[in-house]
Symmetry: C2
């Protein structure tokens, strides 16, 4: 897995860490039978024992689900105490009734935890355009018992077509950052993401919390593509309990870089896990674009390559069809000069000065047939670089998505 | 198949018509064994008996194949006599040697037909990054015998993963417009297209010829998406022999609208055929977006829907997962108001005022299981409309693209 220069002083991953690793956070989940048959977990709560500072990034899709609209409003004051979550149905395109359902979920959760509804956020994921079964949800919420160990259950409760939960936590300079995410399909985030929940016990000033999240999301979740579609429910939420104590971390403070590094590390880890577990995926594809004229061009080219159906299918088949990589960069909008392109797959050079370069085909095919595929394109016209993650396109992706609602 | 308002006075299709239906055009093809084993046709020539006015639209991909670069130069004077074409290899990313190969192809063709190299254009399609076998091509060119009946052979010679040739011709007001195209994969044109060749015997002024082509391409080939990738070799070429005689057609002249209508009709027909025959496709999907704030928004939304991997997979499985249609429109960049959306599939209303509308599921599933699927989204905020064409996403698409070069 590729990290970034700015992460030279890497914090440590906490084995089996997750959303409740940082102090002050509890979580729990139950089976409510929303869409999936029990005993599958599908409803849960993230709870902070004291008011947490909270920042979020939301989908840029103009069709926004009720939970997204409600959270945007409730986060205006920069604080939150809890998030109620469900999988199965996304509560998107459900009109005014759907908004009432989202509000009811937060009210029921507030009552259960002794909070005000305004302090509770909500997240839903699953099929669009179906009303939530509020009776079952109302019966299930009081059964959720948040605990220090409950993070793993909650990570499972937000899964849809995900095959594994995605969790991570790292220890920083006197604080911890934890997180969980769900991904799989409709994944091609833009300024926001899938569902990602991040926690920290660091005491972080709200302005810097927002900036740090924005930066971490830009280089992690926003650089993942599974299928080019972005969802109506995408959201990344970061809550800081302040339990670790110490001097408040602000933009210019001593530990600002350490906090950003820890947050980046958790986000990049979760982003990679989402790519690796994309619907039907058998491989993680990492695309590193260097030598771009500017950072935006580098990101554009990396995302176009990792999102190309033809590149993804070629990787799936172990086919070193490098013309597709170059063609994807060419249509990305990034400035480039064909005659300067240099392409490596698995460390082997296939293209130099924009023309075919003799290479050991067996080595490249063997690399493509592994679980992690590294594509590196040097545009050779500037200094900017970016990394994007994705997965191969398999017949299984089509099967999964041919009969999702029926 | 949906046509457009401006086509109210539709010209007639010519049964079994094609590129050599208009007077003055001859064509022929042979098997050169470039990549495919003989006797598969893979090399051919389109020839105009007298100098033709010629206009073209090219790929916007920044990586451009040698034939594209050469044609751009040669079309500056607005005339051409012949086009030599091959399938198998695209002569793209082949450096200076590739440019020399493209020039050699035109020189050999010019010698064979008694023309100057500058009057000959070239088109290649197939795998990127492989040099053309010039010895075999040089031996094959003199064997091509252009004839009035040769259009069908030429349409076959440019096929790669296409399963059927795409040809059409219509009779207009004292003139004929013919055309052929190839499509299949790497299809998501932008201001240009796949490979499309159009001919007419109408006498058309060069300025209007260029404008008419631009307009026809915008509503036809540019509204087709197979997989979101656009090629390094895309090109649409229109040649006018003037053989039909009559007064020259100019922008303001009496027959300008009739010429545009005939050209649109041939281009839309070929575009639909390309979508229907997309790699692995089993269905033609037509997406009609109405009520958009402006034409650009209408096109954006229609293309996003028809290009969505999730929509395409749902259609493949006969699954009325309409949330994906709405989500694709939402991320398209088109202005919209969720609460005003109205969606019909196969004429059945599934969404009204942005919320689920009770519908006969059996009827929609039956429509989705047919060969032609019609999706109509009314944004209800303006007057602009656009139509886009695409195809379903099948496991076969992945199989085709997993082992294309190997």
């Amino acid at each position: 897995m590729l990290y970034f220069e700015e992460m030279k002083t890497q914090p440590d991953f906490i084995p089996s860490g997750g959303i409740t690793s940082p102090g002050g956070f509890l979580a729990g989940a139950v089976s409510a039978g929303i869409k999936y048959a029990p005993p599958r977990l599908d409803l849960g709560v993230l709870f902070c024992e004291s008011p947490a500072r909270a920042a979020a990034a939301f989908t840029t899709n103009k069709v926004r689900a009720a939970p997204v609209l409600l959270n945007q409003r409730r986060l205006e004051n920069g604080t939150a105490r809890a998030v109620v979550m469900n999988s199965g149905y996304a509560n998107s395109c459900t009109g005014a009734a759907g908004m009432a359902d989202a509000e009811a979920m937060t009210a029921l959760t507030a009552k259960h935890l002794g909070l005000k509804p305004e302090d509770v956020l909500v997240a839903s994921t699953g099929v669009i355009g179906v009303r939530l079964p509020m009776e079952r949800i109302g019966a299930a919420i009081p059964r959720v018992k948040p605990s220090r160990e409950g993070g793993h259950d909650l990570a499972r409760a937000i899964m849809t077509t995900d095959t594994v939960p995605k969790e991570a936590a790292v220890r920083g300079d006197g604080f911890t950052v934890g997180g969980m995410a769900k991904g799989s399909g409709m994944i091609h985030p833009d300024l926001a993401t899938l569902l990602a929940f991040l926690t920290t016990d660091a005491a972080v000033e709200i302005g810097f919390l927002k900036k740090a999240l924005k930066k971490a999301v830009a280089i992690s979740f926003n650089m993942v593509s599974v299928d080019g579609d972005n969802s109506t429910n995408d959201m990344a939420l970061l809550m800081a309990s302040g339990r670790a104590g110490g001097k408040e971390i602000t933009a210019g403070s001593r530990r600002a870089a350490a906090f950003q590094a820890a947050l980046n590390m958790v986000c990049v880890h979760l982003a990679c896990e989402i790519a690796r577990d994309g619907e039907g995926a058998t491989k993680l594809i990492t695309v590193n674009v260097t030598g771009a004229a500017n950072p935006a061009d580098a990101r554009r080219a990396a995302r176009a390559i990792v999102g190309s159906a033809l590149v993804k299918a070629a990787v799936h088949g172990g086919d070193p069809n490098w013309g597709r990589v170059v063609a994807a960069a060419g249509r990305s909008g990034a400035a480039l000069d064909t005659a300067r392109l240099e392409l490596h797959i698995g460390g082997v050079c296939l293209v130099r000065d924009g023309a075919p370069h003799p290479y050991a085909k067996d080595a490249v095919v063997a690399h493509l047939n592994g679980n992690e595929v590294a594509i590196a394109l040097n545009l050779n016209i500037g200094q900017a670089a970016a990394t994007a993650w994705g997965c191969d396109l398999s017949p299984e992706y089509v099967s999964i998505n041919s009969d999702y609602t029926t």
